[in-house]
Amino acid sequence: MEPYIPHTDQDLKEMLDVIGVQNVESLFSTIPSEKRINSIDLPDGIDEFGVLSKLRKMALTNASADRYAFFMGAGVYNHVIPSAVNQIASRGDFYTAYTPYQAEVSQGTLQSLFEFQTMICEITGMGIANASMYDGASSLAEAVLMASRYTQKYKALVADTIHPEYLETVKTYVAGPKIEIEKISHDSDGKVSLNDLKSKIDDKTSCVVVQYPNFYGIIENLKAIKEISKDIIFIVVANPISLGVLEAPGKFGADIVVGDGQTLGIQMNFGGPSFGFFAIREDPKFVRAMPGRIIGETVDVDGKRGFVMTLQAREQHIRREKATSNICSNHALGTLYASIYLSLVGPKGLKEIGELNISKSHYLLKRLEETGHFVRTFSAEFFNEFVVKTDLNVSKMNKALFKNGIIGPLDLSKIEEQMKDQLLFCATESNTAEEIEKLISVLEAI
């Protein structure tokens, strides 16, 4: 404990003197004495080496991507991260700063967030982006709330092909404002059923939500969906790393594009933290209904360009119970990772990475099909994930893979009971041909 607390006995004495009390204890006299405790029921502190030894031991029991090949995606992906990303983002000048309340000494944060907003707009094809939400799921929930707040309508149509955890999150969030959630089913090709969608739209409908690519990896037909949903707020959950190759949702008339930023240079981290992004069409009225912090450009008294938090009248610290959201701390550091990542890969890199994901996953599918044990479940075009049905014993298969240094696909029955023997496979630019052949050879040997 001591290395973080500077107080020497001498300090203590002098400070108590100034305060005019006998001891530290008496500073706590306002706490009702019958509830006072004298200690916490925890062991005493230990030294750095001891702490690290404990933690290192825990870390070593986890099967991590530096030692295992991963063929699992489903919302969190093992992508290649340029070494520079982590090395710059781990500068204390960034990560030990607070929310940029004092803009004059926070231009590093503010400019980088402004640049981030721009990059999100560029890849999504939208006009305005905020400075981040917690994650993809909570961003989506906030988008659904925003749609109802803006339209004053209380029914959201949600494709049943979005990530199940996103759907659960939305369901939690709509309980307060009492927004009804109606699911849209999918066709046998894995895409949103346009007929079902059409049939469910009514004048209570605030928004329609689809994921792009969807939970099963399928590239939804945004154009057709937009045509059907017309003036209803069109919310797209996008995987940003796919947007170097896939057309931007904004091009199809999306009103809100949200998603999770993990794929943009952030480690898997067992699922968190990454960050949620939140972008909308350019609309000065719409933006006032938007949640989250927004950075704007301005000038200082000398006319020099600078950046500040703006449109704060939407936020909880000003608007309190009438705020567009309760969000305060966001996930700014994640946006820094993403900004550095996108700056490094650039438009060409992002495209190439997308193409690699497509080629690798399609090659993986082909090789799986060739084993005779796997058949595709959905027929539509996909990005880096796909569902197959297998005649192998799934748990035996995944154990065999693990023994061979491979974290296998997601067993979908664990998420949706009715999807027995269905596997969600993923391949990214980080999966080498060698890894794929290894996987196949293990599968063939089962």
């Binding site: 750095e48 004092q102 933290p273 909880q316 820094l336 438009p347």
Partner: protein
């Protein structure tokens, strides 16, 4: 500084993706992006320089004193950063079979247990991503509980006028009406007023204790009695937990739900605004309402526990901000029970020391008792010199320290809210006092110096009004 887009040059690259080593698959044209996004095109060197130089424009805890009230800007130990970066923590997938991530689950389980001990609660979830997210989750649990009891009348959440903006905003998001309760002359909840406004509509109360004035509400047991008396529940906003570790537990004071800000009390870095982590703890009777999954342990094996019968569902994907949890856990191991207690003691000592010194220069309202980990002063008397609290703190930037929080809580005019934290030394506090004294003198002798401050920062006072009017929210 130039924007990264402004140093971009078509054709430059900062990273070369892996070579394609399998056959290529060409997506049908209909799916393909027509125009590439205008991302920066720059070398790795350009990018590294850009962000290195940006970082040097930032103030941060690693740079200096950061007495931002309510934010607990304590030092963030490097050990925790290193631990969370270990491959075994950072390169694992949330859907891996639990048998392959036992260490990660063990850590989360232990952290749940530790936070229970510290707060006196019976069950924990680590899922929320920040304080406000914890509030959201906690109030959703309260709502679910009332609904489960078919008590549909309860539609009001009581919130003190000194509360943080996230409290009323959270109440609204959960469909509650936020009912404001006034503070009394001691800065505490006005008990008489409270008695008047509670009733069958009262779903609960959201409190920070100590509150945002840094004052411990001595009537807390009385408040609990009143709220519980009408079937309401008590929500503890743990943003100020740094004042009470090892001294008193929210669970013992009568709170039913509590959130932690691991990024405050447990020293995980704020990351320019996030990520944080906002675990919540509840009393036994609320456990069935917690979001799923929590972490369980059986026969020395750890597992995801989905058994919460009346769960509110999920408030995000996966299990929480895991790498933040690693840092907080490392911190708890390092500090231990004794160290956490000492942290609170020294945090409170520092605040009282600073209050004693600064009250010689600035007015400190409600200054009748010891404060806890922070206190509020006001520069209101300087208004006669044309100096606002904002001017006062902007001048601090010229002296190289980060200003305290200003204009919060809303109930004190021209207030500055100072939280030194336990990791700051007496010398640092003394220097800060000197600066405050200097500026107070300048305010009277040369108010322009403050009104036009800061003078020597990377940019000078920025035009907020213009920013909100001429909305430039992205580079084009």
């Amino acid at each position: 500084m130039e924007l990264i887009f402004e140093i971009s040059e078509h054709g430059r690259r900062g990273f070369i993706p892996p070579k394609l080593d399998v056959e290529s698959y060409d997506l049908p044209d209909e799916f393909k992006r027509a125009e590439p996004p205008r991302l920066p095109e720059a070398t790795e060197g350009d990018v590294v320089r850009h962000y290195t130089n940006l970082s040097r424009l930032n103030y941060a805890v690693d740079v200096g004193f950061y007495p931002l009230g309510s934010c607990t800007m304590k030092y963030n130990p490097k050990l925790n950063e290193y631990a969370s970066s270990l491959d075994g923590f950072s390169k694992i997938h949330p859907y891996q079979d639990v048998s392959t991530v036992q260490g990660a689950l063990e850590l989360m389980f232990n952290l749940q247990e530790d936070l229970k001990s510290i707060s006196g609660m019976d069950a924990m979830t680590l899922q929320p991503a920040a304080g406000a997210h914890g509030e959201y989750t906690g109030v959703a649990v309260i709502r679910a509980y009332h609904e489960y009891k078919k008590d549909f009348e309860k539609d009001e959440m009581i919130i003190p006028d000194s509360a943080h903006g996230t409290n009323p905003a959270t109440a609204s998001m959960n469909g509650y009406k936020a009912v404001e309760i006034k503070s009394d002359k001691n800065g505490m909840v006005d008990i008489e007023e409270l008695k008047k406004i509670v009733g069958p509509h009262t779903a609960g109360i959201m409190l920070t204790n100590p509150n945002t004035l840094g004052i411990f509400d001595e009537n807390i047991l009385k408040i609990a009695e009143i709220i519980h008396g009408v079937g309401g529940l008590l929500y503890y906003d743990g943003a100020n937990f740094n004042a009470i570790m090892g001294k008193v537990r929210p669970g013992d004071m009568g709170f039913d739900v509590v959130h932690f800000n691991l990024h405050k009390t447990f020293s995980t870095p704020h990351g320019m605004g996030g990520p944080g982590a906002g675990p919540i703890g509840v009393k036994k009777f609320l456990e069935p309402f917690l979001p799923v999954p929590t972490i369980g342990k059986k026969n020395e094996k750890y597992f995801f526990d989905y058994s919460h019968k009346h769960t509110i569902g999920r408030v995000r994907s996966f299990y929480g901000n895991f790498s933040v949890l690693v840092k907080a856990y490392a911190y708890i191991l390092t500090m231990g029970g004794d160290g956490l207690k000492r942290a609170s003691e020294m945090a409170v000592l520092n605040a009282n020391y600073l209050k004693a010194k600064i009250s010689e220069t600035l007015e400190v309202p409600y200054n009748t008792r010891p404060c806890m980990h922070e206190f509020v002063a006001t520069t209101e008397p300087l208004l006669e010199h044309g100096v606002k609290a904002l001017d006062f703190v902007k001048r601090m930037l010229d002296y190289g320290v980060h200003p305290p929080t200003v204009y919060f809580p809303l109930i004190v005019h021209e207030d500055i809210m100072i939280e030194p934290t336990e990791t700051e030394s007496k010398e640092t506090l003394d220097k800060f006092v000197e600066i405050v004294e200097k500026i107070a003198k300048e305010a009277k002798e040369n108010p322009k110096l403050l009104q036009e401050a800061p003078h020597i920062t990377p940019v000078r006072r920025l035009d907020d009004v213009r920013a909100a009017k001429q909305l430039i929210l992205r580079w084009k």
